[in-house]
């Protein structure tokens, strides 16, 4: 298949060899599970259980609220201890409502919904089941998958792309899934294509995963509609927009979805979760996580129940050999810093990295030498140096005008910057600040409207009172006259 060129990009040190050869290993059941109500993009789930309830594995604990949301299920059987605020796996470390579940060791399933035959039920049934099972984008995006499987009704979709690029350094969980659970992944992919009503499926895998490529090609040989495509190894090949451009030559317009140009992209682990949901009626209650970084004694790929604390994963990997400078959730390029180890693994946790100072190589910032490397590296054709300057001087609107909101936060620019300018940190700040200003503006408008309404009301009441007084006076005067 002919591939199209994408702009920019970099070749970071991949460091996947630490875990690529490690088979997926189940993590022993922890003593307590912490299940946040929000593990997805959209509205947080609403609890349907209370402290003291006994639940079984796969039972609904919190239901979705609204269209863009996802339910949370019990990762094992046990007792609900409490629902309380607990640190989120988010750089802020802010607490969010979390269900505490104490496993009873039996690990017995609840009554699951019946298996579906995806190729005979109506298409909408599939999306409904996927929503019911709480499946979200497991590459880290955590967008509710059912919504993306329903896009076929709104847009003319002709290709389903399965993202097996796994272009982030360190991570190998998708690589392992493609090698070890090949049949489940390919079945999930075909189910998703049926839900979308597309005839063509492209599974794209970077060439640095030859075993996964071979396994997936062999498994899908029986299905004419599935094509397995090797991709050149380049970061950020796994970015949805760039992947679509490389495969189809179509560019997604700014602030539009890939669906606007007829393509829907799903992740490998999501495909497997869809297989479980549809064929077995099993909700999403566990995921594969790559635990890596040189600060960890033994790097591994673990099958983890959602709600397990990061500290337990690290302990299972033999603990630390040295204190890490960071704990990251996800890969080193786009992953999020975590406030510490006492945070739960959630649906979007693809990796846990404990990086040593040498690996993270944080260095002092020097003045910009205007070399333009950041511009060449940017896969979105932006001018990072200019945007960072503007943000530094609080010219946020100007930065937005030259594309701040189109920036992927991919980190390519910061990676190549010889002056070690924290470009991505500027963009993080700039985007957050713009959103906050937007909220302020909305509030400002509301204040103004309310103040005007009140002023009007006060004036009207005043007028009415005066009118009444005048009327009363007049009546009194007439009465007097009449009396005289």
């Amino acid at each position: 298949m002919k591939l199209f060129r994408i702009r920019g990009g970099i070749h970071p040190e991949y460091r996947k060899e630490m875990t690529a050869g490690k088979a997926i290993e189940p993590l022993p059941m922890p003593a307590l599970l912490h299940l946040p109500l929000q593990q997805h993009i959209g509205a947080p789930a609403v609890p349907v259980v209370a402290a003291g309830d006994r639940v079984r594995k796969g039972q609904l604990l919190a239901r979705a609220r609204g269209e863009i949301s996802a339910p949370v299920h019990a990762s094992t059987s046990g007792r609900i201890v409490d629902i309380l605020p607990f640190a989120a796996p988010h750089p802020s470390g802010l607490a969010q409502p979390t269900i505490l579940l104490e496993p009873d060791g039996l690990d017995e399933w609840t009554d699951l919904p019946p298996p579906l035959d995806p190729f005979s039920v109506p298409r909408e049934e599939i999306a409904r089941r996927v929503a019911e099972c709480g499946v979200v984008g497991m590459g880290g995006g955590t967008f509710p998958s059912a919504v993306k499987l329903d896009l076929g009704r709104k847009f003319p979709i002709d290709v389903l792309v399965i993202n097996g690029a796994e272009c982030e350094p360190y991570l190998t969980c998708d690589d392992r899934l493609m090698r070890e659970c090949t049949a489940e992944v390919v079945d999930g992919v075909r189910i998703m294509a049926r839900a979308l009503g597309v005839e063509r499926i492209v599974i794209a895998i970077e060439k640095n995963k030859p075993e996964a490529l071979a396994a997936m090609a062999a498994e899908s040989a029986a299905f004419a509609e599935v094509e397995v495509v090797p991709l050149p190894t380049r970061y950020p090949m796994g970015s949805e927009r760039h992947l679509v451009t490389a495969l189809t030559g179509r560019e997604t317009p700014a602030r539009k979805l890939t669906a606007d140009i007829g393509v829907v992209v799903h992740n490998i682990a999501t495909a497997r979760a869809v297989h479980h949901a549809v064929r077995l009626g099993r909700p999403l209650i566990s995921r594969v996580v790559t635990v890596s970084g040189r600060a960890v004694r033994e790097q591994k790929n673990l099958d983890v129940r959602l709600g397990t604390l990061v500290s337990q994963l690290i302990e299972h990997c033999g603990g630390l050999v040295e204190p890490p400078v960071h704990y990251l959730s996800g890969g080193p390029m786009m992953g999020q810093a975590m406030p510490g180890r006492e945070v739960p693994v959630v649906k979007g946790t693809s990796g846990i990295l404990a990086l040593t100072a040498a690996e993270a190589h944080e260095r002092d910032t020097m003045p910009c030498i205007r070399c333009g490397s950041c511009v060449t590296a940017c896969p979105c054709g932006l001018v990072p140096v200019e945007m960072a300057q503007m943000i530094r001087h609080e010219k946020l609107d100007a930065a937005a005008r030259i594309g701040l909101l189109d920036c992927l936060n991919c980190g390519s620019c910061a990676y190549v910057c010889p002056a070690h300018i924290p470009l991505v940190q500027y963009f993080n700040y700039g985007k957050g600040r713009l959103a906050a200003l937007q909220r302020d503006r909305r509030k400002q408008e509301m204040t103004k409207r309310l103040a005007e309404q009140r002023a009007e009301r006060v004036e009207r009441l005043d007028r009415e009172r005066k009118a009444k007084m005048a009327a009363a006076k007049k009546a009194a005067a007439e009465k007097q006259e009449g009396g005289a």
Binding site: M366, Y426, Q444, M446, K448, A451
Partner: protein
Amino acid sequence: MLIAIGSLTLLGALLGAVLGVAARYLRVEGNPIEAEVEALLPGSQCGQCGFAGCKPAAAALVKGEAPPTLCPPGGRAVAMAIAEKLGVSVSFGDQEELEPEVAFVNEDLCIGCTRCLKECSTDAIVGAAKQIHTVIAEVCHACGKCAKVCPTDCIEMRAVPATLATWHWKKPRVKVAS
């Protein structure tokens, strides 16, 4: 020489006429910039800027007698909008942004006097005579006037805690190596 003088005089006269006509037909009532600046202000007439309300505040801004940062409830968003409109620069220094606040009625102390309710320009306080009053947080714009008039001192201004939806990264503090 004569031609030069003549043509320049003619040019002057013509341009003068054009300007005169333009001044007559394109005249605007009041000071338009003042109205535009006033439109940017919150309009709650709270008086925290030291002026009697948003209109006099806007007048002072246009005359350059007050800095764009004058309006505490407006925050940075308003300051930046004003600065852009007036074409002046605005400096926040290294000062952290004012924490957003919200009024909070301590219900144990509230005697239901309704004084705060009358003070609030956005109807953010609900209550009635002899009943406990409470603040609708989304509507309060933190002007603090209610706290000032409360006879039992039961209203305090509390910081609004950040949530996962509102939290964002701080600006990087760059230490430049030499």
